[in-house]
């Protein structure tokens, strides 16, 4: 004798069972998510670092496209422990919408700062020849220090025509 299962969707309770199964699966998923977040609340905290920038913005002097902008900032470690500093630059956007992804070269690329030490971070931004004149704005950020950074504006001026001999 052969007893076949009902086809999926047959029977008066099939839809109810399906909904119940979906409900249980979702409940399990949300409960797990909640428990993991709760577990995260009780995890040990890693003391971190916050970047406090002054009101000054970093603005380059007007430089023609094809040349290189050189800027620098000082970083002072006011914590009681050493910390690593790794600077980076966000994409720079011009008001017309042109976005410039600079290939900035930092010197040094990373720096280990002792307590109360002040370091100079210099960086060079080569401006591509095809960059249209304007002011390109972005941020200088230090990786891993939450939000915050220094507003950065790179001014690109029209190239000076070469005087005829």
């Amino acid at each position: 004798m052969r007893v076949a299962n009902d086809e999926p969707g047959d029977g008066p309770f099939a839809e109810l069972v399906l909904m119940q199964a979906e409900f249980q699966a979702r409940l399990l998923e949300e409960t797990t998510r909640y428990l993991r977040r709760l577990q995260g609340v009780f995890e040990p905290r890693a003391p971190g670092t916050v970047l406090r920038a002054g009101s000054e913005a970093l603005v380059s002097p007007p430089v023609p496209a094809g040349e290189t902008v050189e800027l620098s900032v000082e970083v002072e470690n006011r914590q009681r422990a050493h910390t690593m500093v790794t600077p980076s630059i966000t994409p720079l956007v011009e008001p017309s919408g042109t976005t410039f992804f600079p290939a900035a070269e930092f010197s040094p690329p990373s720096r280990l700062l002792a307590p109360d030490e002040i370091a100079l971070l210099a960086f060079r931004v080569p401006l591509p020849a095809e960059l249209t004149p304007g002011t390109y704005r972005g941020m200088l950020v230090l990786q891993g220090f939450r939000e915050g950074g220094v507003p950065l504006a790179v001014q690109v001026c029209p190239s000076q025509p070469t005087p005829a001999p």
Partner: protein, 209 residues
């Protein structure tokens, strides 16, 4: 001060240091809502992290680390260099295969449900402990309970394979730079000659009478 007609930079930003003037200074300070980075608090945090490993599952620990690398990669992807690396990986085969592995093996669902571990903070604190001048004194103190992450803990966010790779890259660069900086002060030159000490007497024994 007037606006530069060539560039449109207004007075609010016209704070470029003049030649010879000190550049802008950024301050690195402790988080306002914590006890700060001291040898004692970093040691307590490390000890608590090690202790927590005995109370959580391996899946939770590795998942939180994976989420931490992805969060670091997400932050790095906002920079120009990070964006370039992100697009390169996304366009290549690694991006497609990564997504496939991530989805099929449910890695993304798993890592996205866990609060990300602050991997860079932990690394920097561990490096700072290695350089701490008062580590002996911190060990002699009564054990300090580590602060808990509390509600300030970063909530889970979607973890993608490309962000995870970016985070691993940033972390690896930081490890290399950090270890090189630790060793820099006492690093011998790469090219050096060590001469045999002629004043030392020969070792005599059964093999070298």
């Amino acid at each position: 001060m007037t606006t530069d007609p060539r560039s449109g930079v207004g007075p609010a930003e016209a704070s470029t240091p003049a030649p010879g003037q000190a550049p802008p200074r950024l301050l690195l300070v402790d988080e306002p809502d914590g006890s700060g980075r001291t040898t004692a608090t970093m040691l307590a945090s490390l000890a608590a992290r090690l202790a927590a490993l005995h109370t959580i599952s391996g899946a939770d620990a590795i998942g939180a680390l994976t989420a931490g690398y992805a969060a670091l990669g997400r932050e790095f992807a906002r920079t120009a260099d990070g964006r370039r690396l992100f697009e390169a990986i996304t366009r290549g085969r690694a991006g497609g295969n990564g997504e496939q592995l991530w989805d099929t093996l449910l890695i993304g669902k798993w890592a996205s449900s866990l609060p990300p571990t602050p991997v860079l903070d932990q690394l920097r604190n561990d490096l700072a402990l290695l350089l701490a001048p008062d580590l002996d004194a911190a060990f002699e103190l009564p054990p300090i309970p580590a602060e808990i992450a509390g509600v300030s803990r970063t909530d889970p966010e979607p973890a993608t394979p490309v962000h995870y790779l970016l985070g691993m890259w940033v972390f690896a660069c930081e490890v290399i730079a950090g270890i090189e900086a630790l060793a820099a002060a006492t690093m011998p030159p790469r090219s050096q000659v060590v001469r045999a000490d002629s004043a030392q007497p020969d070792v005599r024994g059964p093999l070298l009478p």
